[in-house]
Symmetry: C2
Subunit: 281 residues, 2 copies
């Protein structure tokens, strides 16, 4: 009884939620985060409106696959959109690269921070984990904003906890732009376990990354996504410029460089075009 | 034949340049940096105008001493002021804390970054080293600024070089504000050597910190302190606000918390008052 449009929406969503290439604890963490967002904000979110061939794509020889799921917020919501994605590709070395991410951008009804969680797994024994509420204002100019969203919420305690694990090293992005894009409490770490201990990586995801990711998301839902903040007209103009700059640069640095290489120009243009449409940049 | 004022100026300066409590390589590095600044910019700098009792101070029982030397720029210079300082205090543990720093702030004739070099030595075998050109604009909003001063100058190569030394760990400030104050290429490191190898620390200062500090200062002198950049009137208003915020917060976080504790309220008020006068905040 469902319409073809519903089915298309449904099949892209099912594929996305499969996370077919990552370990069970990794998949569980991403599903937990998406469930938390949808439980709290679902009634404010439209179904994914991406064309089906932008919701899932692969390259010619099947060595690279990606799934993308974007839900925009209703007009009355503070949510601009929620973007979930996974990417899988076989590396020339025989290993696989798996990237899973969940981004949440707010709109101009608030200047509260966005949310980002990303896992970049380059092998069963090594991954990079990014978890942050990227600020939407210049923190040097606005120490009150720093205090409201980063000090009062004690976000840094979670970063400190992970930093104590012996398997954890700081991760420093090669992009200077991204280094400054994140907040001072951002969790930007590389986790390495011994070659014969990939089970230990799964334990770390389950026991440490999952609960901390949920706690940081809970802070974002409580303090950012659900309470509006008055933004004056002049400020709004500035905020829009800054938001657009962040969107443009993040597409350029992340997808813009990897997608054409992995999927060829045609698929890359289709997917990037669909993303730019939702991003409105 | 010199006037009393000249002599007072001279004696405060001599005391400052003594760096009486730090190792020879540490002192050499600071003197090298000051000489480079004065060789290049000296003709644009006024003599230190601090009252003599703010140029040098100590606490009642002599366990804490500090020296401060500030030279403002002429009206036609891009330099707002250059601030050199050292601080020595005996810790209850019997060890000594020594902090030496050189800051250079530019004025509103340019929006180019400032310069900071600081060594915080808590024991003969452990120190924190900060070296950066703190940006004066929001880098998320101004990627062209990031490119001009941080990417094109390849500042990050120096950070990368030091990060490779086995004795080096990243240093993460407890102040979230300071974490964001610095640029994405900032050198913010903790260096630890084994308990019986304080000679190794001196070697690291001499062979690694000194040449890199000079190279970063050379970049600042070539690209920031000597070539003006047009700053529009509206931009200037914003830049002034942001500069003042940086100055206020850095006094508050750094001196404002330590000076009263170390020197008592009377000395602290005198010195902080003299600094605020030069800072113009």
């Amino acid at each position: 009884t469902s319409s073809p449009a519903m089915e298309m929406h449904g099949s892209g969503r099912d594929k996305f939620l499969e996370y077919p290439f990552v370990s069970a604890p990794h998949r569980d963490m991403m599903i937990d985060l998406i469930s938390m967002v949808e439980d709290r904000l679902g009634s404010q979110l439209l179904p994914c409106s991406l064309p089906i061939d932008a919701q899932y794509c692969q390259n010619e020889n099947g060595t690279a696959q990606a799934s993308l799921h974007i839900r925009s917020g209703h007009g009355s919501s503070l949510v601009d959109f929620i973007l979930g994605s996974w990417l899988h590709c076989k590396l020339p070395t025989g290993a696989s690269l798996n990237i899973t991410s969940l981004l949440a951008y707010l709109n101009l009804s608030t200047d509260a921070p966005n949310f980002v969680a990303e896992v970049i797994q380059g092998s069963p024994t090594s991954l990079v984990f990014l978890l942050d509420l990227p600020p939407r204002k210049d923190l040097v100019m606005h120490p009150d904003y720093l205090q409201t969203f980063y000090e009062n919420t004690q976000l840094d305690t979670h970063r400190q906890m992970l930093a104590k694990l012996p398997e954890v090293q700081p991760y420093i992005s090669s992009s200077l732009y991204l280094r400054h894009y994140f907040s001072p409490t951002a969790i930007l770490i590389r986790i390495e376990v011994k070659a014969d201990e990939s089970g230990q990586m799964e334990d770390i995801i389950k026991s440490h990354l999952n609960p901390i990711a949920k706690e940081v998301l809970r802070i974002w839902l409580d303090h950012c996504a659900c309470g509006g903040r008055e933004v004056g007209e002049e400020e709004k103009t500035y905020l829009k410029k800054r938001d657009n700059m962040m969107k443009n640069k993040s597409i350029e640095i992340d997808l813009g460089s990897n997608f054409p290489r992995l999927f060829g120009p045609e698929v890359a243009n289709r997917v990037l075009g669909a993303i730019r449409e939702v991003y409105n940049v």
